[in-house]
């Protein structure tokens, strides 16, 4: 229930931001009666209303007595830990995104796979290293050589 109230508050704050931004949308001389900002403004207001309804409903239910908390999946039994672990994956993926152009697809994907193995506590052995390199090569073969998609060569541009 606390989770639903938090969701309501986030939605309410976002709706205020969205309506503010929607009000800045310029109006075209060729536009219609509704205008480019008309629909976004309406959506923002409806979201605000739905958020208030969600919060009010939850508060009303809380006043009336305790509720059984909804069951969550194993990962969300410890949301703080999940956020941290997921943050690590996002960081690895973000570094990959930043590196893929200049480092090249093959080395950066091999590093992505190796980093993901290590991050999930798979010990780094010659076998996991081979899996990462072979996996990267297999994906390159599939997309670049087979499907004809031009994946970045980066540092290996002289070689491939």
């Amino acid at each position: 229930m606390t989770r639903d109230i938090a969701l309501g508050v986030i939605a309410l704050v976002f709706s205020v931001f969205y309506v503010t931004e929607a009000s800045k949308i310029s109006r075209s001389a060729l536009g219609d009666a509704v205008g480019a900002g008309g629909v976004p403004m309406t959506l923002g207001w409806i979201m605000g209303g739905a958020a208030i309804l969600l919060i009010a409903h939850q508060l009303w239910m809380r006043r009336a007595g305790p509720l059984i908390e909804a069951k969550v999946t194993e990962a969300f039994e410890t949301p703080g830990r999940t956020a941290l672990v997921a943050g690590g994956v996002v960081l690895i993926a973000a570094l990959y995104i930043a590196a893929v152009r200049w480092l090249g697809y093959l080395p950066s994907t091999a590093l992505l796979l190796a980093a993901m193995f290590l991050y999930q506590r798979v010990p780094l052995t010659w076998r996991t290293a081979v899996v990462a390199i072979a996996g990267s090569f297999a994906l390159w073969l599939l997309f670049d050589a087979f499907l004809g998609i031009n994946l970045p060569n980066g540092l290996l541009s002289g070689l491939i």
Binding site: D32, V34, L43, A50, E74, V90, M116
Partner: protein, 500 residues
């Protein structure tokens, strides 16, 4: 009928047959992996479809959908972990059969019932799609606006969790759809000076991020590992004639319920398979075997979720409105090739849809040999350590997303959508309304504003269209009923007061 017969000619001249088989096999693998739903399996394939012609691309995705529905039963039977939500009912008796040393029989029954369910679903799809799309040809901008609202309100109300959450999710999708140039005057909205956002947020990337990346993030954070398949389970035994005779009623019940649930938007394969399980038990001559390894208990849910998969395509192909996550991904496959499913597509280029039908028939025929040939690979895949699979899925998703436009910016969108999806999972927000809002946003806004341009800004134009009035009234009824039900249910959710 002639067009359908002509479409069989496509089987020899295009890549339909190989794509149907490939999609079927990929679907079985994806369905067999716990936590990887049919929609994720399809989402992983989306980038590949860019390089294909429209018909093979659509067939590839649709065959994946069909294959995943069967594949979900493999880990349900072997390791008591359903590969898909819809296979949860199969687990009850399938795993009991496995414990009795009848894993091969259970897998064979699942395959047999899945094939029957598939054909029942495809038959309904072929029979009903064309007449319904003919009806949809009468639609005007006012009707399309009302239809979009109806689709959104139905999905928001039948989605898991609170109605307000379903509505919030639909609004999020609609809001994402407003990014880019506005459909009437061409004014840029919420682009913040980014040229990449002028054409809007690509739906495909959002789908891949929401479904696949968020799943990887959640799975990596989940401590428990999947169970391994022990012993020799890789022998599939197709039911003999006596068993087939015993299963006819449960297959009929399962297929019937699957068809019914497929027509009802949002009901989905999970509801269908549990309903079928209950009804098969009610009408069975061997009620006492249910829960203890009943063959009917495996057949009925499998027939149901496979029939549901075929029929679930009807709203998408007739009206352009996806009724499930998987059909939303299939819609993405159409959009990639500049095709908008619905009555106009059926009218102008029926070959694409008839090609899809014939591809689905091929896929259903291919299911039996594919299931035999892939079982040992499925068992091998299920036995792989989860960290390896998650790492490869992430690499596959990012490579696929990059390959769409050769753009690093797109990877950022996929990653952001994945993080957003994880947040949605935490708050219990359903995914489908977001996708539907995103897909229908343009249709709703463009037709709303076009209607008002026609009427000179007069909103009563929506009341002059009888079909639109019916759709709008149904939207209000759906929302009203759900709101009342929500308050009633939540009142009864309380724990019983302590005894005094």
């Amino acid at each position: 009928m002639d067009a359908l017969l002509q479409s069989f000619g496509l089987l020899t001249s295009t890549l339909i047959v190989p794509m149907a088989i490939l999609g079927m096999v990929w679907g079985i693998f994806g369905g067999a992996l716990p936590g990887i739903s049919p929609s994720i399996t399809m989402a992983l394939l989306l980038p590949f479809t860019y390089t294909l012609d429209p018909i093979p691309a659509i067939v590839l995705l649709a065959a994946t959908y069909v294959g995943a529905e069967y594949g979900g039963s493999v880990p349900a039977i072997l390791i008591r972990t359903p590969g898909t939500n819809a296979a949860a009912a199969t687990l009850i008796d399938g795993y009991e059969m496995k414990k009795q040393g009848k894993a091969g029989e259970a897998l064979g029954i699942s395959l047999y019932a899945s094939t029957i369910g598939n054909f029942a679903g495809i038959l309904c799809l072929i029979l009903f799609t064309a007449p319904l799309s003919q009806l949809a040809l009468q639609f005007r901008p006012t009707t399309y606006f009302a239809l979009g609202l109806l689709g959104l309100s139905v999905i928001a109300t039948v989605s898991e969790g609170l109605l307000t959450k379903g509505v919030l999710a639909a609004l999020i999708g609609l809001m994402i759809a407003t990014v880019g140039t506005d459909p009437v005057s061409g004014v840029a909205r919420f682009t913040y000076g980014s040229a990449d956002l002028l054409s809007g947020v690509p739906i495909i990337l959002v789908m891949v991020g929401l479904f696949a990346v968020s799943e990887v993030l959640e799975q990596v954070a989940t401590k428990s590992q999947w169970d391994a398949v022990k012993g020799n389970a890789s022998r599939l035994k197709f039911p003999n004639w006596a068993m087939q005779k015993r299963l006819w009623l449960s297959n009929l019940i399962g297929s019937g319920i699957g068809i019914f649930c497929g027509i009802m938007p949002g009901a989905g394969g999970t509801v269908a398979s549990f309903m079928a399980y209950n009804e098969a038990k009610r009408f069975s001559r061997h009620k006492e075997e249910f829960g203890k390894g009943s063959p009917e208990g495996v057949a009925a849910p499998e027939a149901a979720n496979n029939a549901d998969a075929g029929v679930g395509l009807i709203p998408l192909l007739s009206f352009g409105i996806p009724a499930s996550n998987s059909t939303a991904i299939l819609l993405g496959g159409f959009l990639i090739h500049g095709l908008i499913p619905g009555p106009v597509l059926f009218d102008r280029d029926p070959t694409i849809l008839y090609g899809l039908f014939s591809g689905l028939i091929v896929a259903s025929i291919a299911l039996i040999p594919a299931a035999y040939l892939t079982l040992s690979v499925c068992v091998w895949l299920v036995n792989r350590p989860k960290p390896y699979l998650m790492a490869f899925i992430l690499a596959l998703v990012l490579t696929g997303a990059f390959s769409i436009n050769n753009s690093v910016f797109d990877l950022g969108i996929v990653l952001a959508a994945g993080v957003f999806g994880l947040g949605m999972r935490y708050f219990g927000l359903p995914m489908l309304p977001v996708i539907l809002g995103l897909v229908l946003g343009y249709m709703i806004e463009a037709n709303y504003r076009r209607s008002l341009v026609i009427s000179g800004g007069d909103h009563t134009i929506f009341l002059e269209d009888p079909i639109a009035v019916v759709f709008l009234a149904l939207s209000v009824v759906f929302l009203g009923i759900s709101l009342v039900q929500e308050f009633r249910t939540r009142r009864t959710d309380r724990p019983a007061p302590p005894a005094t």
